[in-house]
Amino acid sequence: MVLQLVMAPNWCGCGVASANSTKISTNAFKMSSNRFNFSKPYPGRAYRVTAYYSLTTPPYELDALEPYMSKRTVEIHWGKHHNEHVERLNKHLKTSAFYGHTLEEMVKATYNNGSPLVEFNDSSSVWSHDFFWESMQPNGGSMPKGGVLDQIEKDFGTFTNFKDEFTFAALSIFGPGWVWLYLKKNERKLAVAPTQNAISPLVWGDIPIIGLDMWEHAYYLDYKDDRSAYVNNFLDHLVSWHSVMVRMMRAEAFVNLGEPKIPVA
């Protein structure tokens, strides 16, 4: 008998049932009568609730990123590649032990410290692509303001330095990959890193702040093989510093970026 690993109670009241068709057998241990029975959350009802992932929409129209990213690219990238990953992920989840994990948990768990399981590629791609669409906005680019700019200048020297490092990392990738600006939890500073295939800083426990897709499907229709133009246009015209600010604010709940204020007696 295999006990379902992911039976976290859902306190908001909606039933979370097992995606597997195997029932939890009550032979091995008796569930007491006043315990919440996860396999039959609402006795008497005939349905079981299952939930899967769906394709999230970018927060702008598909042609809003013209002329730096054409409508055709966004349509195919989002409508076909991202969609395909979502569908494959859902197909895996029908029989996977990771049903019920959040996407971030699944990415970290399926990465399995370097020997990725079969769900890793699709879950990580779905997460990364969601992140990517939200990292961009129409009329984006230019300079960040306030705290974000301060943090970047603190960790990279100057903003131009950051742009150079980001571009260099992006162009250093051979084959498909991503380039990330992320916040290192232990060192409490921002850094830039390129990764291969579908890997993201989630797998090593850090907090991504900007993600740029360097797979060829992201830029080939618009820029053919001119990757530096693609990255420069992303940094100058597309990157959403608003999202960056929101993400940094959230990250501050996990990482103490400022100097600790030690009260003086």
Partner: protein, 327 residues
């Protein structure tokens, strides 16, 4: 006046040796004869000693382009409408040429510049720990191979030995196409899909064959990531399909499956694949013979070392000893 210099071997005094007194010279027999007959001089003027010539000639200028971009065997628009002129042009001119240039830049002046491309791929793979120029060398080789696998008006059916082996190892051409499709669609990211001839018992576990067998000398379908090729696993590649996105994105967008099926139906040159198979089988059999011979020699050597020499000859008949003759 300088003392007469003596020949180091014969001890004869030779007047002309005075001219190159910095050298320790042994005169040859002919010269001995010659200089014995002439009686020059003590009147000869001493000449400056000759600088010894460096026997190793100075290296010529390193060739700035050890590898040249091989031209396509057909014009850019020859593969229309299955592979557009734009794709072929960009693929060859920008990607393939880019790798050639990068490779030249890295290996120029090093010992690798003299190597053959295939050797360079194997050496730089370094058994899984690739040197920095492995990707470029391998991509140059892969792309050369890829362009030659295609031809305008390609497709059709394989014949002769290739057909026999496909039917023996896959069942039918359709089964082979299905395996290749599957490999292409499951290759996450960029890479290549190959049909290879496996002739050495190296179990890397990467080969896909619906009729697996412990026997060797069979066709297998393999998929490789990024720039790797089955040369590094000691296979003989027969056909290559580039599944990097730049190879099909402009024509097929994300439909990799369609690209691969059109490749197999309309672009592939089965003649070239058959030739490669013939070549592969020949090389494999030659190599097998050599390996067997070496194994046999090793065994013999071991046997000689292990076994004490026992003289099983019958004892010679007792004969009267012969007297030694005196000269």
């Amino acid at each position: 006046m300088q003392p007469a210099t003596a020949c180091a071997s014969s001890g004869l005094t030779i007047p002309w040796l005075r001219r190159c007194s910095s050298l320790r010279v042994k005169c040859s027999t002919s010269q001995r004869a010659h200089c014995a007959s002439t009686s020059t001089a003590d009147t000869a003027e001493p000449i400056e000693p000759i600088e010894p010539i460096d026997p190793i000639e100075t290296d010529p200028e390193p060739d700035p382009e050890p590898f040249k971009l091989k031209p396509l065997p057909y014009p850019f628009n020859a593969l229309e409408p299955h592979m557009s002129k734009e794709t072929v042009e960009y693929h060859w001119e920008r990607h393939h040429r880019g790798h050639v240039d990068s490779l030249n830049a890295i290996i120029q002046g090093t010992e690798f510049a003299e190597m053959e491309l295939e050797n360079m791929v194997l050496t730089s793979y370094n058994e899984g720990n690739p040197l920095p120029f492995f990707v470029h060398a391998s991509q140059v080789w892969n792309h050369d191979f890829f362009w030659e696998t295609m031809k305008p008006g390609g497709g059709g059916n394989p014949s002769n030995v290739l057909k026999y082996l496909i039917e023996r190892d896959f069942g039918s051409l359709d089964e082979l196409a299905k395996e290749i499709q599957n490999a292409a669609l499951t290759q996450f990211g960029s890479g290549w899909v190959w049909l290879a001839y496996k002739a050495h018992r190296l179990g890397v576990g990467n080969d896909i064959n619906p009729r697996p067998s412990k026997k060797d000398k069979r066709l297998v379908v393999v998929k490789t990531p990024n720039a790797v090729s089955p040369l590094v696993w000691d296979y003989y590649p027969l056909l290559a399909i580039d599944v990097w996105e730049h190879a099909y994105y402009m024509d097929y967008e994300n439909r990799r499956g369609d690209y691969v099926s059109v490749f197999l139906d309309k672009l592939i040159s089965w003649d070239v694949v058959s030739d490669r198979l013939k070549n592969a089988m020949f090389r494999a059999s030659k190599r097998e013979k050599m390996e067997k011979r070496e194994m046999l020699l090793d065994k013999m050597k071991e046997a000689r070392l292990r076994v004490k020499a026992v003289d099983l000859r019958p004892t010679p008949k007792a004969r009267p000893k012969m007297k030694r003759r005196q000269y």
